[in-house]
Amino acid sequence: MIRRGCRSVLFGMAFTVLLGCGNSGSSGPSGPSGPSGPNVLAITVNPASAALCTFANALCTHVTICQPGTSNCQTIADVLVDTGSSGLRIFASTLTVTLPSSTMGECLYFGSGTDWGRVQSADVVLGGEPAVFVPIHVIDPTFAGQYTSGGQAATNICGVAVVDSSPSQVGFNGILGVGLFPFDSGFYYNCASLPCTAVAVAPSQQIQNPVGLLPVDNNGVILTLPSVPASGSPAVTGSLILGIGTASNNQPSGVTVLPTNSSGQIVTRFHPSPGISTQNVGIIDSGSSVLFFSDASLSIPLCPGSLSFLYCPAAPLSFSAANTELSGIPSSLVSFQIVDPRPLLQSGNAAIRNIGGPAFSPGVFDWGLPFFFGRTVYVGLSGQTSVLGTGPFWAY
């Protein structure tokens, strides 16, 4: 009862904070032609004047974090929007609000990095939605003495070379995981005394996808981004809409629904050349900066130096791949191009649609952010039902 009362007060307060923060470039609906409402967050590649979220295809938004049950809130910009993970993660060095203390730590492994830090509860406000009380990951390499402030191993509880160390190192203030699942697949540790020990944690204490806790718009999200030309764009702005079919601004029409397996995967049949089709595990991940795919029949040159994870073909290459449900039906053919990205990157364009690299694991096809340009993509939260069916599913 008390908490409910706090919530409605907090909603009003937090909304005031949002409107009052003066960050008009990244707050509120995406413009006159885009959807608007309390369930809409602006999402931007390369937001104007931002010092962070400036690397290629970094899709970011802002969130508000409050000390639970209070109006002591902080709006945090430059938070990566990630359909490949679940839960909110913010660097401790970015946080100015005080959250309830905690001795629980978490290792969360991404494909290209690892986050270590405390698990702390916060009131999280997405757009103009009511605040949700949820455990978040406060990224801090030095928590419990595991890593140096630069992310180098000390005790090295996560067992990796380095962990993400700071906003300036990774290029964003945090990650908003709005993926297919309510929980985050992390590894939890009790660090009340050292050494930290692995613990099984009750679901309510785990880091959770805040979308699933919203009162109404809780069955998934929609990402909509404008298309970009083959030469790229300096910046693009779109919308992250909360809920599927729960409001007038999130009613789907004419989409293909692709239910996933329990790991959030579909089948992607890649056609590297006419007449050839290879089956891959398909994932749709706004947090991956490019399209990652491989095929034994391909011999596309890699870029030199620090871009060696990207393809640098001598001339533009055109491909297609069909995304299907595990059963093979329905199927949706997607065409794409891969070009030498160096001129585009050197031009200062941050939104690039025709950029790709090899999937070191030949069986994986990772539809990174380029897939989202010019599309509206629906993320059906696992266990929740909408007009498109019960999650987990992708639809577009």
């Binding site: 969360l108 492994y109 190192q169 947090g287 990652f292």
Partner: protein
């Protein structure tokens, strides 16, 4: 309640073993017999596949699968997939320092996300996946049997 506590303690204890005894593991560049040390450290079971150019010793646990590729009695490549990576300090052995240096250089500033390709003087490390399905592989290019490509390591 008691059972749950016991389970938690057991889980915690098993993790401590893995974390505190990393250097008892086998590693990249070491003899095939060292795979058994990994199996014990991971508390997994091993199955073996023989291909013309190499053998694969696959260690399976509840959290991950590690494949060690052996030729001329040497582990020349490792690959993993699962909810988490194996302890790379242990698995890479003397090559961990090379990996650390390459990873540190790559982490010196913002970079595109998704998959990582790191190259040291003697070892190549590639990682990818997403939370809940983490994948990676590492190999020693100079020890790859002739006729084998890195795509075969998965």
């Amino acid at each position: 309640m008691t059972h749950r506590r016991a389970l938690e303690l057991a889980l915690a204890f098993s993790l401590i073993l893995i974390i505190d005894l990393p250097r008892t593991w086998a590693a990249l560049g070491e003899p095939a017999s060292s795979v058994e040390t990994d199996r014990v450290a991971l508390a997994g079971h091993v199955s073996m596949t023989t291909a013309p150019l190499y053998t694969i010793q696959e260690i399976t646990t509840s959290e991950l699968v590690v494949r060690e590729y052996v030729s001329r009695d040497t582990v020349f490549a490792v690959a993993w997939t699962g909810r988490r990576p194996p302890n790379l300090v242990s698995l890479f052995g003397s090559y961990f320092q090379e990996y650390l240096e390459a990873a540190t250089a790559a982490a010196s500033g913002p970079r595109m996300r998704g998959m990582i390709h790191l190259q040291g003087p003697h070892v190549v490390v590639e990682t990818g996946g997403h939370p809940g399905d983490i994948r990676g592989r590492a190999y020693l290019p100079s020890l790859l049997p002739s006729g084998m490509t890195k795509e075969m390591i998965q």
